[in-house]
Amino acid sequence: MSLATRMMTARRRPGRWHWTDIAAYAYLAFGVVLMFGPVLWLGLSSFKTQAGLLEFPPSLLPMSQKEVAVPGQSQKLPLFEVEMPDGTKRVLAQVRRVGIQAQMIDPEKPGETIRVPIDKRTPVREFKLATENYTEPLERFAFTRFLWNSVFVTLVATIITLIINSMAAYALSIYEFKGKTAVMLMVIGTLMIPITIILVPVYLVITKLGLVNSLWAVILPGAATPTGVFLLRQYMLTLPRDLIEAARMDKASEWQIYWRIVMPLAMPALAVLAIFSIMWRWNEFLWPLAVLTKTESYTLQIGLNAFQGELQTQWHYLLAMTVVTLLPVALVFVFLQRFITTGIANTGMK
């Protein structure tokens, strides 16, 4: 591998930089900006006030207009930088605006009122995080309940998925049995069916089972993922057979072979499936929206979207709540990124 990389980089004389090295680092640096930038921007925007979000050109950091308390005024007044008729600039506080004239006063000398045309003033701003975008919806909604539901769904669904998928994959990779081809064809044939197109029939099944509004209605339908079976089987096919034969010689039961031998060996593939399952379940929106109608059974994705109205979207809340739902995924990634990336490269996805 070291040779291969040497070929690719071809730094012919060690220590000297070939143009491809520079190009590669430039590409990677650009990649960092392009990949992280948009999400960072979303994060920054989520701390802007409703008015701040509407600004053009947008400010990079969350800013809001500076306000000062002026003696004689009951409320704090917004500060503006004003271009005076003689060309000088002054910082004034606005008392009120009437039509296209603003009545302003100098905070230092509050006695005198100055009239300013509104297009001659620019707001004076300061850095300020609009944390109320987060606190207000989180206080209004039963956040901890939603969080618990989401965690419950994600964990239980992932465990069920891992167990039943690995069992099926074990059967499909180790045994020869009648109907194996039919099962394989079914798995592969449905590998790519998006849930959107069978939403209504699955809803009917859930209704008949009496599971509407139970978290199990969210957990169960997606548990038997064809993707998971496929991925695990591909990986298990590569496991050495002699190990299994040896275990059989030692009178291990089939269940023990599955649990004690194959599962530990398939750990990298299981971990990849676990990560994907966590991600799918955590992010699920359309399906829970259809089967969960009671507040106490909402997941985060549903509960935190409740302020999306018919006619208005409250962007400042929407962005903040998006960041809230994003955080756990980001944390999982930060802690497990090396494992995830190497895992995928090493599993049957090749």
Binding site: A51, R140, F141, G210, N213, S214, T293, Q312, W315
Partner: protein, 425 residues
């Protein structure tokens, strides 16, 4: 909670379904979406109700609007709906609605105060049921950025000005002050039909069946289409998304980029809150066409659902919410135009509203009297959303350059016919 899950899991494996756990109280569930603060207001009001009625527990399930339009019909059809729902597709949901008359304290109160709106929430062919009331009566109409007019030094068109006058004035102002949107109109059926009805569109024939494409309709469609061609309207709303999707320009208006924004009364609360002192905004009476000067009525109704297990409790909650003092407080705090004739006649004191919002609310409330009978009939028509959706989708395509207006007319007619035929199968 967790325990209950395990029980349901057991039930599943055993192939059994279990009945709901027994409650000492009757529980009434309301599915509710919010555009502004109305969710908070109603939950305050319901807390008071619960304090007075210890035997009834009211749960307010706050859902995204999407759940109301897309999932609620499926839930209702499968018998899994809530007891009460706040809905916009009144005609579509009406078939699942509960006639509350046997349970109401005073049905005459409902008839008297909600009379004109009750038919909107009745199933086809029914002319007497009482199924709900309007949590908000909306009236379409334009908002004008008065400050932009002043900056441009152009006078605002007067009371009986036509759509043409406003289009021209908005364009002139925008050119002077360099506002990107001279005139913006929500991508919505109600907004379009407020123009169409004032241009003389009849929409329904004498038998009450759709006959959408007539001269009045074409005048309005042509006007909107031409406005897009000449830059009076920008393609961002009508020409951007496909299908039935809604798009509004409220953010742009709040940012002083729109001279005239044709939307409706529900915007007042957020304009009041966000625009603040940045510029002067006013609501103006609905502009006129060749026919009349009507807007479109609409709004969200709170409807009782037939499948409820406790109709008495549902009626009790509805009676409470619809009672004059409670409803007055609800309308006043959420800055909604009242859908209650008694309250409307007395006039409502919007205590929390700023002066601009108060003035705008007055303009819209006055507009209710100006509404044309055609507008009322269309709003009450069971399949009106079929018509709205077809128009949004097809007119939007023509505006974005996919096909001509004539093709759009043909498609509108066939879309409506096909969908209604499917429903009747």
């Amino acid at each position: 909670m967790q325990g209950k899950h395990w029980i349901s899991a057991l039930a599943l494996t055993a192939g059994l379904t279990i009945g709901g756990a027994a409650f000492a109280q009757t529980t009434v569930r309301i599915a509710w979406y919010s555009d502004g603060n109305e969710g908070e207001v109603v939950s305050d009001l319901l807390k008071r109700f619960e304090a007075q009625n210890r035997d009834i527990k009211v749960v307010l399930d706050q859902v995204p609007y999407k759940a109301i339009t897309e999932n609620l019909p499926v839930q209702l059809a499968s018998g899994q709906g809530p007891d009460i729902a706040r809905v916009v597709d009144l005609g579509g949901i009406a078939r699942y609605a509960l006639d509350m008359r046997p349970y109401l304290k005073d049905a005459a109160y409902w008839e008297k105060n909600f009379g004109p709106f009750l038919p909107w929430m009745r199933p086809e062919g029914d002319s007497s049921a009482i199924t709900g009331f309007m949590t908000q009566l909306t009236v379409t109409g334009p908002f004008v950025n008065k400050t932009l007019f002043e900056q441009a030094g152009i006078a605002m068109p007067g009371a009986k000005a036509t759509w043409e006058d406003w289009g021209k004035a908005a364009k002139d102002v925008a050119a002077k002050v360099q506002a990107p949107f001279p005139l913006a109109m929500d991508r919505s059926g109600h907004r379009f039909f407020s123009v169409a009805v004032s241009e003389g569109a009849k929409v329904l024939d004498d038998k009450g069946e759709p006959a959408v494409i007539d001269d009045g309709f074409k005048r309005a469609a042509r006007r909107v289409y031409d406005w897009h061609q000449s830059g009076v309207m920008k393609k961002e709303l009508w020409g951007s998304v496909s299908g039935t999707a809604y798009r509004g320009a409220n953010d742009e208006f709040k940012n002083a980029q729109v001279v005239l924004y044709h939307s409706g009364s529900w915007q007042i609360a957020q304009f009041d809150k966000t625009v603040g002192d940045a510029f002067d905004w006013v609501a103006v009476p609905s502009p006129c066409g060749v026919g009349n000067c009507s807007g479109m009525p609409g709004g969200a109704g709170l409807v009782a659902i037939k499948t409820t297990k406790s109709p008495e409790a549902v009626a009790k909650v509805m009676d409470y919410l619809a009672s004059e003092p409670v409803l007055s407080e609800f309308y006043a705090r959420s800055l909604f135009v009242p859908g209650h004739l008694g309250i409307a006649a007395k006039g409502l004191d919007y205590k929390d509203a700023g002066p601009q919002a108060k003035a705008a609310l007055k303009v819209f409330s006055d507009q209710v009297a100006e509404l044309s009978p055609v507008a009322y009939k269309l709003q009450g028509y069971v399949n009106n959303r079929v018509i709205f959706n077809a128009v949004i989708s097809r007119l939007g395509q023509a505006i974005s350059g996919e096909g001509t207006l004539d093709e759009a007319y043909k498609r509108i007619e066939s879309d409506i016919a096909q969908q209604i035929a499917e429903r009747k199968k």
